[in-house]
């Protein structure tokens, strides 16, 4: 333990001897941390937003057409299929959910823009969203809907208007009333969202009949074994239906965007570039530290210091740079996440597990730089000192 402490103290003294060099090394690590954080932040935010529709739907089990890949492009599922699920003794209730795109007219500018609309029986409680339960009664009325306050601003200042009282808008060429707000967020598939009753949904989306639903939510008795019911329903229902747990449903939505949209690759590429830049900067600093002190290191070897001790010095430097660079990188990223979230309306969240993961990456990056830089230590041969 003691030699490690002494080696790290030596590393610390070496690092802090030249504050400008230390600052540039730390800046490199800060930059790398920042790049990795931003890439992962956008990556997670886009996936979170991509699955926001799926996550908005409650239900112990989700029934989905096998022809549908994603909630943003569904092939309808006959309502009868969902009703069949009621035959299972553990199923208490089923709720059809309807999804569609309609044209919204900005009440201020009259610019038209496509918007996602979700419809279901307002009393079913199928939507896991803030504000929905309060407005259930009002959605029973004709041509009423809720507006997603986290929609992009191009739809108009609906939040302000609703705060002043109910506001009238034109949706799918119908005059409708926004009776409340909810929170869901923009996604790849939708710049904004509306929520309404199943009845009002079919008033807006004329080419759909109530017989064809998009997502079936199945609710079970308390204490029912979800896995067993899922297996029984898959057995019971025809093969054109996929029976998933809610987690599987969200995961399949996520997998669709990850695989068919190549988004995962783009962001991992960015993470890789950030790490390479950081690696090169840290390597440069460590390598010149070793190269400039070769005769001193050789002298230490002549005095009886082991190679492992000198390795410990270089690795300590690498890991100190990791910590010194990561912490400001974390703080700076925290701030930038807020800025980005405001600019993009994406849910940019810096979670503790992401911070831990990025620290692990930065740590590994610095350790790798150290591992390459210490190869120069072999040139420190005490026999050449005389």
């Amino acid at each position: 333990m003691r030699p490690v402490w002494l080696a790290s103290r030596l590393a610390w003294r070496q690092l802090t001897h030249q504050p400008t060099r230390l600052a540039s090394a730390v800046a490199g690590v800060v930059f790398a941390s920042l790049l990795v954080f931003m890439q992962l932040g956008f990556h997670d935010a886009l996936f979170d937003s991509a699955t926001s529709t799926a996550r908005a739907i409650r239900g112990d089990i989700i029934v989905f057409s096998r022809q549908s890949e994603t909630t943003s492009r569904t092939s309808g599922l006959p309502r009868a299929r969902l009703m069949q699920a009621l035959a299972d003794p553990d199923v208490t209730n089923v709720t059809p959910v309807y999804l569609g795109q309609v044209i919204w007219k900005n009440p201020e500018t009259a610019v038209r823009r496509s918007i996602m609309v979700l419809g279901a029986d307002p009393d079913s409680g199928v939507f896991a969203l803030d504000g929905v339960s309060v407005a259930a009664e009002r959605l029973r009325q004709r041509d009423t809907l809720l507006f997603d306050i986290q929609s992009r601003p191009e739809y108009g200042p609906i939040g302000e208007r609703v705060a002043r009282g109910a506001t009238t808008v034109e949706v799918a060429n119908r005059t409708t009333e926004v009776v409340g707000l909810f929170r869901l967020g923009a996604s790849f598939a939708a710049d904004g969202n509306l929520l309404t009753s199943d009845v009002n949904f079919h008033r807006l989306v004329r080419d759909r009949t109530p017989d064809m639903l998009d997502v079936g939510a199945v609710f079970l008795k308390a204490g029912a074994n979800i896995g067993q019911v899922q297996a029984r329903l898959q057995q019971l229902l025809p093969d054109d239906v996929r029976v998933m747990t809610r987690d599987e449903f969200i995961a399949s939505e996520r997998a669709y965007w990850a695989n068919s949209a190549a988004i995962g690759f783009i962001f991992l590429f960015g993470v890789g570039m950030g790490l390479i830049v950081g690696f090169v900067i840290v390597y440069q600093i460590l390598f010149t530290d070793v190269a400039n002190h070769l005769s001193e290191y050789a002298t230490l070897k002549a005095m009886g210091y082991t190679d492992q001790y000198l390795l410990a010095v270089v690795f300590s430097e690498a890991l100190m740079l990791a910590v010194l660079g990561f912490l400001p990188g974390l703080a700076f990223s925290w701030w930038l996440f807020g800025v980005s979230a405001e600019a993009t309306f994406l849910p940019m969240l810096l979670r503790p597990d992401m911070a831990a993961f990025v620290f692990a990456l930065i740590f590994a990056m610095c350790a790798a730089s150290g591992a390459v830089a210490v190869r120069k230590l072999r040139d420190a041969n005490p026999a050449d000192m005389f």
Partner: protein, 231 residues
């Protein structure tokens, strides 16, 4: 008494294949504890190679080299590293760590001894630096010291751990004559106080006076191993 260094039939080669060239030929040499020996000879005579072999910085290829009774021929790397801790090295260049103060540089020689506490290391280094006349410069970085002062810090570093042997290679070469003589007599005085042997390679005729014995080398052979008549 067991000699500090006992060399018999020592040979050494450099290079590989056709370029392989013998540097040292069948050397015999013994240095007693506390004895001060100066090794002289022209460049390329093999003095420095001999010094690195005795310093356990190179593996012995042929013959026997016993350091403090331990055979170095065939010794493992770990054995050689352990033996180096009993030797004080002084180089032509001071080789001080530029980011450490004079005292921290001297303490580096003591940090290898796990028995010493931090306060003991500090005290020993302070006393040693006072002995080399740098008691007022403890916290100076090497860049704030003159050439002679830096070499004196290097002497303090080599001797603070009470080595059984001091190996010095041209310790005065980068110093002017007066400073060089001061450093040489400092090495002599401190080594004698501690009973350490010294093997010192030099071309500097002005410091030959400190030696008990002068050994001359030429073309890889010891040509003259006489008592120092100036003494």
């Amino acid at each position: 008494m067991m000699p500090a260094i006992k060399i018999k039939g020592l040979g050494h080669w450099f290079g590989n294949g056709d370029l392989r060239r013998q540097i040292l030929f069948d050397l015999d040499l013994a240095i007693a504890p506390g004895e001060i020996v100066i090794l002289t000879g022209p460049s390329g005579s093999g003095k420095t190679t001999l010094l690195t072999l005795i310093g356990a910085l190179r593996a012995v290829e042929q013959g026997s080299l016993r350091l403090f009774g331990r055979e170095l021929h065939g010794a493992s790397d770990d054995d050689r590293i352990a033996l180096r801790r009993r030797i004080g090295f002084i180089f032509q260049q001071h080789n001080l760590l530029g980011f450490l103060s004079a005292r921290q540089n001297v303490e580096m020689a003591l940090e290898l001894d796990p028995a010493l506490q931090a306060s003991e290391r500090r005290d020993l280094a302070t006393v040693m630096l006072a002995k080399v006349g740098l008691g007022e410069r403890l916290d100076h970085l090497p860049s704030k010291l003159s050439g002679g002062q830096k070499q004196r810090v290097a002497v303090a570093r080599a001797l603070v751990g009470n080595p059984d042997l001091v190996l010095a290679d041209e310790p005065t070469a980068s110093l002017d004559k007066v400073t060089g003589h001061e450093v040489a007599t400092l090495i002599e005085r401190l080594a004698r106080e501690r009973g350490a042997s010294i093997l010192l390679v030099t071309h500097d005729p002005r410091i030959l006076g400190i030696a008990d014995r002068i050994v001359a080398m030429e073309d890889g052979r010891i040509v003259d191993a006489a008592e120092n008549r100036q003494d």
